[in-house]
């Protein structure tokens, strides 16, 4: 042991500056996290901190690789001449010293700083699983790096070895997948996803770590580099195989079993429309005729499936929970390719697709009620059976289970997230486990459809092993503390909470559920949870009720509305305030209306406009482009020159549609003609400062409506291809 410490001392001295640099990097990371600069600070400082936080982990990773390579470039385990080999050391003393250095120099300092961070965040009492996860993540990375470094002998060859290793890993991964697929031991789908099931991951990481240790011992003892490299390939194969095929010993048996192959009865769903496309206007009108997509409504069984043949794989994605107008369930056929469309038809058996069209892949949402009233709705024409041949891993589906259920299908764990309490928790959304790692992306992609407009709090804890919290806010309860921000080493998770009608509540946290439960009542006095389902790693269900009262005054007092929230949160917050607002809250709301233009809608609906006169004017001047038709009419009723200024700013900046232009002309006849002439003249100048020719085109309808003498002539020149667009904007309103 004395000699091992002697070697360690020598290495610390040899790489002193690099150790210091590593510790400095760790310290910088911790300081950034603890200071919260990236979260709190606006401007350049905050932006710099956020950029650093983004890139620092990658830099740290590269640095760890470099350190490991340097660790192995003296007292090497290769056949290169090494002075140290003539010294009285045994192979295991050298290996042990390197492993201890890896542990003490690289991993422990990082862990210690993490622990400090956790403790300062009051998360220290239950960090067991997170700690294990932490170790596993790093071991998974560090051990292969150490083997490659030991087989390389110096930094240059380590870099080359790394490239070879990456290529080999890809080849082994593909090869292993292909092999198991051909052997019939894996899904027929050739998917490349590795399970995030903690049990499988544990086995895989254990295999990898043990394999790497054996290879290291063999290499240091015998220095047979080629054999060791071959063994490393073998270990990689074994790891991938374990990751793919190991038993799920940490998960319970599925609550529902899918029979594969099997059949699924389907009928056509009601028409849906892509809410993200521009054919739905802000006023809830549909600018283009609705196309009823062939959304299939499943009849039975109640699980999401994929359909496939030899050449094609198509996922039927459950989306009914995303569509409030079709809560009984829709399957959105997820395909854009004509080839897939053709291939889908025979697979669907006797299913006839509506209008023989495969719907495009898009964002589905409810069809606005005005549109449904004004346009005929196609009847459901599809009824048939889907042949289910295999379960596709990237499955999105639907399942009518109780809230908070967890299941596994084959190699996939599926977490069920309740999104609608009104139907007794029977409309649910499946999120496959790997997807949970990218919750932020899901949130941004399905922001409107999944999370928005529901009186529900969905607290998702990342599936990095801790669990999931499902919750629901009582109607009319105020939001809980939105201010808490958590992050792990790689990612920051903000805790958002809203309540009430049309509100959004999300939390992405990365620590143990239990601790969270303890903290919620303390930190969030205004949050009321009626239900919280906890799915821990071992998939044990816990139900807890955390109750704490709150009111709108608390929200306003805490200044929630004035914080720079992301767009979706801000909307939810305004919705919550809108729902909770009473006459007694008028003064408080009016005092916050200045930074929150959205609250003006509430003010208008409550009839508080006279009291909000100043706020309205300042907001109108600050954001003239956002002035809606209603507000233009309201500004016209105010006898204040600033109102006319704001309205003219709206006219100058656009956007211009017929109603807005007419409202401006009627509301401000004195200044309208003059402003219009100026804007029109400006638009016609070749280099007038109008950013794009596209913008110039948009003013055309306004110019025509305002009676500009050359507007029609200019329109003919500018819009030979946009005739329809122009006509549509100029078309007289239907009664």
């Amino acid at each position: 042991m004395k000699k091992i410490w002697h070697l360690i001392g020598k290495e610390y001295r040899r790489l002193a500056r690099w150790w210091l640099a590593w510790w400095g990097l760790l310290l910088l990371d911790s300081l950034l996290r603890l200071s919260g600069l990236g979260i709190r600070s606006p401007g350049v400082l905050g932006e710099t901190a956020r950029t650093l936080e983004t890139f620092l982990p990658w830099f740290q990773l590269a640095f760890v690789g470099f350190l490991i390579a340097r660790l192995c470039d003296e007292d090497t385990a290769t056949h290169d001449p090494s002075w140290s080999r003539s010294l009285p050391f045994t192979w295991w003393q050298i290996l042990a010293s390197k492993l201890l250095l890896l542990l003490g120099g690289i991993l422990l300092p990082a862990y210690a700083l993490d622990l400090c961070y956790w403790l300062t965040q009051s998360l220290g009492n239950s960090t067991g699983i997170a700690t294990l996860q932490w170790w596993a993540d790093r071991l998974r990375l560090v051990m292969p790096l150490l083997v490659i470094a030991a087989l390389s002998g110096n930094v240059g060859r380590f870099c080359g070895g790394l490239i070879i290793a990456v290529v080999m890993a890809i080849a082994v991964f593909i090869g292993t997948t292909w092999f198991w697929t051909e052997m019939g031991l894996s899904h027929r789908f050739r998917f490349w996803h590795l399970s995030d099931d903690p049990g499988r991951k544990a086995i895989a990481i254990l295999t990898l770590t043990l394999g790497c240790l054996i290879i290291l011992a063999y290499q240091f003892k015998s220095r047979r580099t080629r054999w060791s490299a071959a063994a490393l390939t073998g270990v990689a194969m074994l790891t991938f195989t374990a990751w793919r095929l190991a038993p799920h010993f940490l998960l319970e048996q599925p609550e529902s079993v899918i029979q594969i192959p099997g059949k699924v009865d389907v009928i056509a769903g009601p028409p849906v429309v892509d809410t993200n496309s521009s054919n739905v206007t802000g006023n809830g009108q549909v600018s283009h005729p609705l196309i009823a997509t062939a959304a299939l409504q499943r009849v039975s069984p109640s699980l999401g499936y994929a359909v496939h043949s030899e050449d094609i794989a198509i996922t039927l994605t459950g989306t009914s929970s995303l569509i409030s107008s079709a809560r009984t369930g829709l399957w959105h056929v997820h395909s854009q390719s004509p080839f897939r469309s053709q291939a889908l038809e025979p697979l669907l058996g006797d299913v006839t697709l509506l209008e023989q069209r495969i719907p495009h892949h898009g964002y589905l949402g409810p069809i606005p009620s005005q549109a449904l009233e004004s346009q005929p709705t196609p009847e459901c024409q599809i009824r048939g059976t889907c042949q289910v041949a295999a379960l596709e891993p990237s499955l999105w589906g639907e399942i009518p289970l109780d809230r908070g259920a967890a299941m596994k299908h084959g190699s996939f764990r599926v977490l069920v997230e309740d999104v609608d309490s009104e139907e007794n928790g029977h409309v649910t959304l499946l999120l496959r486990e790997p997807v949970l790692r990218y919750v932020d992306r899901i949130r941004s992609r399905y922001r409107e459809s999944i999370y928005g407009r529901r009186p529900t709090v969905v607290l998702l804890q990342r599936a990095r092993g801790i669990g999931i919290i499902l919750g629901q806010v009582e109607p009319n309860s105020p939001p809980f503390d939105n201010g808490r921000v958590f992050r792990n080493r790689r990612q920051r998770f903000s805790l958002y909470g809203m309540s009430g009608q049309n509100s959004l509540s999300l939390a992405f946290v990365d620590f143990e559920v239990k601790r969270f439960q303890e903290e919620v009542p303390l930190e969030t006095p205004s949050f009321r949870l009626t239900t919280m389902e906890t799915l821990a790693d071992e998939v044990k269900r816990l139900t807890m009720k955390a109750v704490s009262e709150g009111d709108l005054a608390t929200i306003l007092r805490l200044g929630y509305v004035s914080k720079p929230w992301p767009e979706d949160v801000r909307e939810g917050l305004v919705d919550a305030v809108t729902d909770l607002a009473l006459e007694t809250d008028k003064a408080a709301i009016l005092s916050h209306v200045t930074p929150y233009f959205d609250l003006l809608a509430l003010i208008e609906s409550q009839g508080w406009l006279p009291e909000a006169h100043e706020a309205i004017l300042s907001e109108a001047l600050a954001h003239p482009e956002s002035l809606s038709l209603t507000w233009i009419q309201h500004l016209a009723s105010i006898e204040d020159p600033r109102a006319a200024n704001a309205a003219m700013a709206r006219l100058a900046q656009g956007p211009w549609n017929r109603q807005v232009v007419e409202a401006l002309r009627e509301g401000f006849p004195n200044r309208f003609a003059h402003q219009m002439e100026r804007s029109w003249a400006l638009a016609k100048l070749p280099y007038s400062g109008w950013p794009t020719s596209d913008l110039r085109k948009r003013i055309l309808p306004a110019a025509v409506l305002a009676g500009m003498p050359d507007a029609l002539t200019t329109a003919a020149q500018w819009l030979p291809e946009d005739r329809l667009h122009l006509e549509e904007n100029l078309r007289p309103e239907q009664p």
Binding site: K10, W83, F89
Partner: protein, 300 residues
């Protein structure tokens, strides 16, 4: 008692035999020089001896321990100086010595100080800043200071100036005077070897072609220069096998007698060259002997 005893040592690199069926015995307490041309297998042999290269065949013992079983305890008694294994250049000499000291129970601080002064190396300078000669002196200092029972040196003198060579030899002799040790040295620098070595082994094409006590070797090799009264053709097949490298130029003949004995050589000369007018028989240096052996083995 032999400090090194190997039989049938073989090492192949691909299809190339680097060392072939090599037998070698180095008596304890001797200074054994391993000579041979480049690529003869000297370094490979030494690396196999120290278990740094795997043996493809054969076996051997170092200080009574089988080569494959050499442990840290054995390396506490073995010093190794080579040009191929550079010292860690980030260390200073002072730190190098401080690093080595705890590793060897037999470390002799007094000897270390003495050699330190003798070699005159700057102690605080990083090894990377030392000259080649200084680095070799540092390596030798580290290898001698713990009074090894066996010192293995691989090309210690190559590229060094005479003054440094002299110092290195002085350092080695410093230790030789005080206690018996065994030295295995491989080198091309035959002049230094002649001063140091008491046993010589010559390697060629991975095989030992000669091992012998240095003095005996020097005694039995003679250079003979004959002046004949008349020109005569030289038929090497008719000459005794102990006469090598015979060359004739008109009335002169030069050859190497590898089994010199005053009386016997004289008789053989009279028998094979009766028309000899003048015969000059001179002792040979180790360099000349090595070249003769090299030439003879090459012609065979």
């Amino acid at each position: 008692m032999n400090a090194i005893e190997i039989t049938g040592l073989t090492k192949r690199f691909g299809r190339q035999d680097a060392v072939r069926n090599l037998d070698l015995s180095v008596p304890a307490g001797s200074i054994f020089a391993l000579l041979g041309p480049n690529g003869a297998g000297k370094t490979t042999t030494i690396r196999m001896l120290l278990n740094q290269l795997r043996l493809d065949a054969g076996e051997g013992q170092l200080l009574g321990t089988p080569i494959r079983e050499l442990s840290e305890r054995d390396f506490e008694q073995i010093g190794y100086v080579t040009d191929n294994h550079p010292l860690p250049d980030w260390m200073s000499l002072d730190y190098l010595l401080a690093y080595l000291k705890p590793l060897y129970p037999t470390w002799d601080e007094a000897l270390c100080t003495r050699l330190y002064k003798l070699f005159e190396i700057p102690g605080t300078a990083k090894i990377r800043h030392l000259s080649r000669g200084q680095k070799m002196k540092a390596a030798l200092l580290g290898a001698l200071a713990f009074r090894p029972k066996l010192l293995v040196m691989d090309e210690p003198f190559s590229g060094l100036d005479p003054a440094v060579r002299e110092l290195l030899i002085k350092g080695m002799l410093e230790l030789s005077d005080s206690e018996p040790w065994t030295v295995l040295i491989s080198s091309h620098d035959i002049d230094e070897i002649e001063r140091l070595a008491d046993h010589i082994g010559i390697l060629r094409d991975g095989q030992i072609i000669l091992t012998e006590n240095t003095n005996r070797l020097l005694e039995r090799f003679r250079s003979i220069d004959l002046s004949l009264s008349e020109e005569r053709p030289l038929h090497e097949d008719c000459l005794p096998p102990t006469w090598w490298c015979a060359e004739s130029t008109r009335k002169r003949i030069r050859l190497v007698d590898t089994a010199y004995s005053a009386e016997a050589t004289q008789q053989l000369l009279s028998k094979h060259f009766p028309q000899t007018m003048d015969a000059s028989i001179t002792p040979m240096s180790l360099r000349e002997i090595y070249l003769a052996i090299h030439q003879h083995s090459g012609s065979k």
